[in-house]
């Protein structure tokens, strides 16, 4: 290879340029976050929307569940528990399919939910796993928006059909039915109708893979309407593996059709069922064919079969019995007579989207609902919920300032809740409190009183709940005389004030304010929306089946924020794209939207964050996905909206809904997008996605808890996710980032002293949310990960006495290391059994401790101050506890060394006895004395369970030590008396040992010296006790 001089020069130029740039340290993603990690606290008691179930064809322990916003979950135990297996990818799932030929390995996932409600997310393509869901590969279809069906030829894993429903919010040519014959390397679109009509159900004849059926659906959403149905909706059949297709509508209703769900009976494939949404209501319902789709007959038009076809159109036939048909619906319906009559499935969460039969036993059934996966053991009569699928879908969350703080929020179809961010044993189902029915949205705690505001969809009810008195008042405002009809959004904004605790805002097209917690209301604005009448005909929404649930209400206020710095500054964002601000408490409003450039007109203003740093500063986040625009938009103003600047960089993927400003560092911002959380340390110049234990889930709302600096996220699919203490991300200067090691200053830490009984029962199958650490934290930055050479982290007291060592974090970026205020436990005398109390580690006294990080030859130091918990225990009492603990600690170790010495001499004695017969006269009595003494010091028989022997001195000392060391208060007089007794007993034993040493052992060593027997030297006490 020849290299020209020019290319050499060019190369050098590049190298130097790269080096020059390197001087500025810009850290992206985990390079910055290091080991900073999120924790998930659920709740899972109501789970969340599950969209698709898939069984394994030969192993009934394996079940897959696709969810609306929480990814794909897999059960390995027949549905007892599920685990998430798709965290890194789009969490909105259309369908999951297992390859019949290679079911342990090949699994396909189509993203983008197809139950097209208003709050549905978007997909980003097709994925395939070749190892049962461990790893995934994107297989194209990036613009598919939502994938409804995947069908695999049971005789050929490379032949796969994919039904693309396509965009919900706009036209798309990506819709249609696709086929691959090379395992997904290339795809051919084999059936396409038009830009409005997508492919829903695709099924393959169970015995003939050339026979296929595919249904197509014309549908569309806008922010203010929904349409299901048109002349292009149809059912097609192919008998030649997709080459040619024929409509099979013999017996179908005439006119426009809506969504069509289809199923074939696996045990009698001539029998097919179709559930059809028709123009003529009396013709909607379940149709049956007994000749493989040639002719169809309407069997049943009950409510359960025709309800909300866009949300429920799944039909499933028992794999062993063609007469048993189940249909999803508000409650789910089951027929055991071939579709003539139906009854409801057993009671469970409403809104059933899919049903799966066990592969071997039709009594075992699974149902996918808006509230999780349910199992049945009796053919669908009694349903029980799977308790560990944490896929709750929050629209909004907030926090209070309790300790531990609570998280409040409202869920899609699962009401409103609050629960603690930590609880003994972890955050469990029983820790969550219900504070609202219906769909839940904004839930706010009164700033000073134990009162909670919550609401349901469209403000049908807004509640003020007095938690102490258990009184609920319904407080939503009504239209006053002369007012037009109030337009509440599906997710209506309510807001409290930092300036006046009893103040409450609510938005319709007007801003309403109450200064008495919602009892009386006044309007403080005119109509702040565009008031576009063409977007207000919700009564006609739905298409063939009217669907006026309030979900499409439009031209409404969506976000309200009063400045914490000035109560007269109020910001308002509307769903039709206005950003209004008043600086005089609502007398005058200015629409600032025209000052924003680069934003399409009428883009939904999802959130406005009023800055705490400056009253003219605010952030506005816009979401354009309801016009099929998936870009992220976030802007910042510092002059009351006169000018706005985009703060989005190319790093951000997915449309955004929420932003949170840090209270300390104005340049530190957190952005919630449809695919996760992004963080910028530099005011938006660059953003990094946060992925440590944080799935790619839609983040609908973010709060920053003030006392803890925790970022608390309301995700729409994985419940509440928290990043504890983000303060290390503040003010990350180049000075810090260019250091090899930087210790962040640690605030003084109160030593957590709450005890209690966690009583975690059922956690084998129930979700338990992770607690935050209550330990002291050392936080440091490493410029490079520590991989080679030694590294240790040690703690010393002010006298430079070693306290303990802990495992250091070694990540590049930020490391958080916890210390639970404990020093190393005492060395315990060796006995036959374990002394469980002896495992107790004593707490250190309050004070300042040094932290030494030794990395190779370099030593880095920091310190931390620990204070006692403020729970009324006097310092004198604590000191008494510490003194006795220390005495018992030392006594435990003194005894340990004594026993070590005894064991040492017994060993030496045994050896001499063995080698020298003449020694018996001298050694045997010594051995007897030593053994006798030892038996009174430690247990030498029995076991660790019910074969346990009577306690000896070691156990008695350790038991008292364990008791005292785990208390915080002063020892009782009986504790002190017991100590004195034990100390006396110890001293007696010790004098026996000294006597043996002085007399018998001296003789023994003399004898050994004479006989020239070399004895092993024993360890010094210091060596023996070193930790």
């Amino acid at each position: 290879m020849r290299i020209s001089l020019l290319s050499i020069l060019f190369l050098f130029a590049n190298l130097f340029a790269a080096n020059a740039q390197d001087e500025q340290v810009v850290l992206k993603g985990n390079e910055l976050f290091g080991s900073l990690s999120a924790r998930q606290i659920g709740p899972a008691l109501m789970s969340g929307r599950v969209t698709d179930l898939e069984t394994h064809p030969s192993n009934n322990r394996i079940i897959y569940a696709g969810t609306g916003g929480g990814g794909v979950w897999k059960s390995l135990n027949g549905g007892a528990t599920f685990n998430p297996i798709f965290d890194k990818y789009c969490q909105s799932i259309g369908c999951v399919a297992v390859d019949p030929q290679s079911p342990d390995k090949i699994v396909w996932v189509g993203t983008g939910e197809t139950w097209t409600r208003n709050s549905v997310s978007v997909g980003d393509g097709l994925y395939r796993s070749g190892d049962g869901g461990t790893t995934w590969k994107k297989m194209g279809f990036e613009n598919s928006d939502r994938i409804a069906s995947i069908v695999i030829n049971p005789n050929n894993s490379d032949e796969v059909y994919v039904g693309v429903l396509g965009a919900l919010w706009g036209d798309s040519e990506d819709r249609g039915l696709y086929k691959t014959t090379d395992g997904g390397a290339t795809w051919e679109k084999i059936l396409y109708v038009d830009q409005k009509t997508g492919c829903t159900d695709v099924i393959m004849h169970p015995n003939n893979p050339n026979v296929l059926y595919a249904s197509f659906w014309e549908f569309r959403r806008t922010a203010w309407s929904f349409n299901s149905g048109g002349l292009t909706s149809a059912l097609y059949q192919s008998n030649d593996a997709g080459k040619t297709w024929n409509k099979i509508h013999n017996g179908f209703p005439k006119g426009k059709l809506g969504r069509i769900g289809i199923a074939i009976a696996p045990s009698a494939p001539d029998i097919m069922y179709a559930v059809i949404e028709a123009e003529n209501k009396s013709e909607s319902g379940l149709y049956k064919s007994t000749d493989g789709g040639g002719n169809w007959e309407l069997k049943n038009g009950d409510f359960g079969l025709v309800v909300r076809p866009f949300y429920f159109s799944r039909i499933v036939v028992d794999p062993r019995n063609p007469d048993v048909v189940v249909k999803g619906g508000l409650s789910g319906s089951i027929s055991r007579d071939g579709g003539n009559t139906f009854k409801g499935l057993g009671q469970m969460h409403s809104d059933i989207h899919d049903i799966a039969f066990d592969i071997n036993d039709s009594d075992r059934m699974y149902a996918a609902t808006d509230g999780g996966v349910y199992r049945s053991w009796d053919g669908g009569a009694k349903m029980e919920i799977v308790e560990n699928i944490s896929v709750s879908q929050f629209y909004h969350i907030s926090t209070d300032d309790a300790n531990p703080y609570n998280v409040y929020g409202g869920l899609q179809d699962n009401g409103s809740w609050y629960g603690p961010n930590s609880a003994p044993g972890g955050v469990q189902a029983r820790h969550w409190n219900s504070v609202g029915g219906g769909d839940g949205f904004r839930v706010l705690r009164h700033p000073t009183k134990n009162i909670i505001y919550s609401e349901m969809q469209g403000a049908m009810n807004v509640w003020r709940y007095d938690v102490d008195k258990k009184i609920v008042n319904t407080i939503q405002p009504y239209a006053a005389e002369g007012d037009p009809k109030l337009r509440f959004n599906w997710n209506p904004p309510i807001a409290t004030s930092d300036n006046a605790p009893d103040r409450l805002y609510i938005g319709t097209q007007f801003v309403h304010v109450s200064n008495d917690m919602g009892s009386t209301w006044k309007k403080i604005s005119g109509d702040l929306t565009t008031n576009d009448k063409s977007k207000q005909d919700q009564a006609a929404s739905g298409g063939l089946s009217t669907d006026n649930s309030g979900a499409e209400n439009h031209c409404t206020i969506f976000t309200i924020a009063e400045s914490s710095l000035d109560e007269n500054v109020i910001w308002v964002g509307t769903d039709d794209g206005n950003v209004q601000v008043t600086q005089d408490g609502g007398k005058n409003w200015t629409n600032t939207i025209s000052n924003i450039s680069g934003l399409p007109k009428n883009t939904w203003c999802y959130h406005i964050e009023a800055s705490v740093h400056n009253k003219g500063t605010a952030y506005a986040v816009f979401d354009g996905h309801t016009t099929n625009d998936k870009k992220a938009y976030a802007y910042k103003t510092t002059d009351f909206g006169k000018t706005w600047k985009s703060i989005i960089s190319d790093d951000v993927e997915g449309f955004a809904r929420n932003i949170q400003e840090d209270y300390v560092d104005e340049n530190l911002l957190f952005l919630g997008t449809e695919f996760g959380l992004y963080v910028t340390p530099n005011g938006g110049e660059s953003w990094s996605k946060f992925t440590n234990n944080m799935p790619s889930v839609a983040v609908h709302y973010i709060d920053l808890q003030k006392q803890t600096n925790d970022i608390v996220m309301g995700t729409h699919g994985r419940g509440v996710i928290i990043i504890d203490d983000i303060s290390p991300l503040r003010n990350l200067t180049q000075d810090i980032l260019t250091k090899n090691v930087h210790f962040f200053p640690t605030e003084s830490t109160e030593m957590y002293e709450e005890a209690g009984f966690s009583g975690v029962f059922g956690s084998e199958t129930k979700f338990v949310g992770e607690n935050p650490t209550r330990a002291a934290k050392f936080i440091y930055y490493l410029k490079k990960r520590h991989t080679f050479g030694k590294m240790k982290l040690e703690i010393f007291d002010q006298q430079d006495q070693f306290v303990t060592s802990i495992s250091p974090g070694k990540s590049k970026g930020i490391n958080v290391v916890n210390w639970n205020f404990l020093k190393a436990p005492p060395v315990i005398a060796k006995g036959k059994t374990l002394s469980f109390a002896g495992f107790t580690s004593p707490r250190v006294p309050a004070g300042t401790y040094k932290v030494k990080l030794t990395k190779g030859k370099e030593v880095y130091e920091s310190s931390i101050e620990l204070t006692y918990a403020k729970n009324g225990i006097p310092v004198m009492s604590r000191k008494a506890q510490e003194v006795l603990t220390a005495k018992l600690y030392d006594l435990t170790e003194d005894l340990a060394y004594d026993v070590y010495e005894i064991d040492h001499w017994i060993k030496q004695g045994k050896k001499v006895l063995k080698d020298d017969e003449n020694s018996e006269k001298l050694v045997a009595p010594l051995m007897n004395k030593l053994n006798e003494l030892k038996e009174s010091l430690v247990i030498t028989t029995g076991d660790n369970y019910v074969g346990t022997a009577e306690n000896q001195l070691r156990e008695n000392i350790a038991d008292l030590y364990g008791k005292i060391a785990s208390n915080y208060d002063k020892p009782s007089s009986s504790d002190l008396a017991t100590f004195d007794l034990l100390k006396k007993q110890y001293d007696e034993k010790k004098s026996v040992l000294e006597m043996i040493k002085k007399k018998d052992l001296a003789k023994f060593t003399d004898y050994c010296t004479k006989q020239e027997v070399k004895l092993r030297t024993q360890k010094s006490k210091e060596d023996f006790l070193s930790k």
Partner: protein
């Protein structure tokens, strides 16, 4: 001029080696190259590791002896008492029951699973992976512990767990700069069961403090979800008595002494 060319070549290598496309096989080969050379690892007959497990403030002494002929044992030290766990004599496995202090055999399924994989994993699961029937797949790059890594999937031999055949899969994260693994994620089929409870938790171990022992590099620090392990010394080719692997006879518990 010659110097200049050499320098240039050096620069080229530094600049390009990390961006060059790598196969999983090359990454693993580079790994053994960076930790002392595969031929030197090949020569080892056995290894003894002495160290400590640290779990929530508790420190437990630990000795792990593993031999080329597949035999191995772990000895843990609680309050001066040695208790053997995971003793494999080439055919059977046993360990001491904590309650009784007596040896018990490990269940047949676990022993079979161990024989299929771990028994062949001296001195490293990646050593001779091909001969052992393992498969490697490069999954791309990913940051782990803030560091750019090659993500390599290791599929071991399938084992039967709870009556069903299960894949055994680990994902290794090799630092792209130096080719040593800094983390391993146990994905499925691991003998190490996850923590009790329904909450999913990733089973990720990290490796650091690589240090040289007789020309070979070993990570002296490993963290696992349950705690961390710090190695204090490594002895190659230790002398081990065959009796260490023999399961002792079960002793009937002695009666407690009269007081």
């Amino acid at each position: 001029m010659k110097m200049f060319k050499l320098l240039l070549l050096g620069l080229l290598c530094i600049g390009f080696s990390s961006v060059q496309a790598q196969t999983a096989e090359e990454i693993v080969a580079n790994y053994f190259e960076s930790i002392g050379g595969i031929e030197n690892w090949e020569k080892l007959e056995g290894m003894q590791i002495d160290g400590k497990m640290k779990m929530q403030g508790m420190e437990i002494g630990l000795k792990v002896v593993s031999l080329k002929d597949a035999r191995q044992y772990t000895s843990i030290n609680f309050q001066g008492q040695e208790m053997k766990q995971g003793v494999y004599d080439g055919t059977d496995m046993w360990g001491i029951n904590f309650m009784t202090g007596q040896p018990e055999k490990m269940d047949a399924e676990a022993v079979k699973a161990f024989s299929a994989n771990e028994a062949k994993d001296f001195p490293d699961p990646l050593f001779n992976w091909k001969e052992k029937g393992y498969q490697l797949e490069l999954l791309g790059k990913e940051t782990m512990e803030g560091t750019d890594c090659f993500k390599v999937k290791l599929t071991k031999n399938p084992v039967v767990m709870n009556g069903k055949e299960t894949e055994v899969v680990s994902i290794y994260y090799f630092d792209t700069e130096n080719f040593v693994p800094i983390a391993e994620e146990m994905v499925s089929g691991s003998m190490m069961q996850g923590p009790p409870g329904a909450a999913p938790q990733k089973m990720i171990s990290t490796f650091s403090d690589y240090q040289e022992v007789d020309g070979l590099y070993i990570p002296f620090s490993r963290t696992m979800p349950q705690g961390s392990m710090v190695i204090e010394s490594v002895t190659f080719n230790p002398e081990v008595d065959d009796a260490e692997f023999e399961m002792p006879e079960v002793k009937v518990a002695e009666p407690a002494p009269k007081q």
